[in-house]
Symmetry: C2
Subunit: 169 residues, 2 copies
């Protein structure tokens, strides 16, 4: 039957790579705190209910993977500033998508604060899937295609195309 059954390991998917760090407990919560303006060990410690050794471990791991950077402050050399790197900032869409999902299905938890367009102060749109030209796409507008088949044929060989909706039913 289906020829398109893939190994699912990290050789053909960025998801395992992403989860290597962000899949660990507290990673996303630490990141959220960082996005909300926290920068110091004791701040994270107070805001999340995390144990010291775990926080220490996670921060080291996030730094190690280039998601946060660690630099001692010159004016008080006890203090260490943890800041998001570019790589860390790039996780914002994933984090917001997760948060919006949790908010949609959670027990009436209206998230706060809310991320807004600074131009007009209006909250951002829901994170969603869009076509290359920006059109919003729903589950029925989507299909998995083999990478080698992408762009070359438009309506030629459909043998490698799979509708996403067969997942639903």
């Amino acid at each position: 039957m289906g020829k398109l059954r893939e190994p699912l390991d990290s050789h053909n998917c960025g998801l395992p790579a992403a989860l290597e760090v962000m899949g660990e407990r507290w990673s996303f919560m630490i990141l959220r705190a960082a996005f909300n303006g926290l920068h110091h060990f004791e701040e994270f410690l107070g805001a999340l209910g995390i144990a010291r050794n775990i926080l220490s471990n996670r921060l080291a791991r996030l730094v190690e993977h280039g998601i946060m950077k660690r630099e001692p402050l010159p004016d008080d050399r006890r203090k260490i500033e943890y800041r998001l790197t570019e790589k860390g900032l790039d996780l914002l869409p994933a984090m917001l998508a997760l948060r919006q999902w949790g908010e949609k299905y959670g027990e009436g938890v209206p998230s706060n604060p809310v991320l807004c367009d600074s131009r007009d102060g209006v909250p951002i749109a829901a994170i969603g899937i869009r076509a290359h030209d920006g059109r919003a796409l729903g589950p029925k507008d989507l299909e998995w295609r083999d990478r080698s088949d992408v762009g070359v044929t438009e309506k030629g060989d459909d043998s490698l195309k799979r509708p996403v909706l067969n997942v639903l039913r």
Copy 2:
């Protein structure tokens, strides 16, 4: 800028709610497998390198939280079909955002298969943050605002003051 320091617990953020299930190990990988068309216990078991008891536990938990549904097949009552629910399908944007991030910063892992617009077969756009009207936003176009401040006109512009809850989808 100093006023916006929030408790970060699950009372004002959907992220902890989302992580309650999806933060556990293997949850995202199981979901990815489901999105790729796997439906049965032994299929998941073979595709991911997961232990039986863990898979059993995770599937039960995903079902328990309404992310997947479990139904025995009538033609072979040994077989159980695990399928994504609507709630599970709604995790696709978050999963894709994570995957794209992992792919961007991973060791040259071009993900396969690729999600495409079924209308023209072109791969979808990168998951990103957009304004309510669809404009793509960068990190510098964003600001956190208290929920009570959104919708009540800012900068004297009343044309956009309608309370935006779920603009898109």
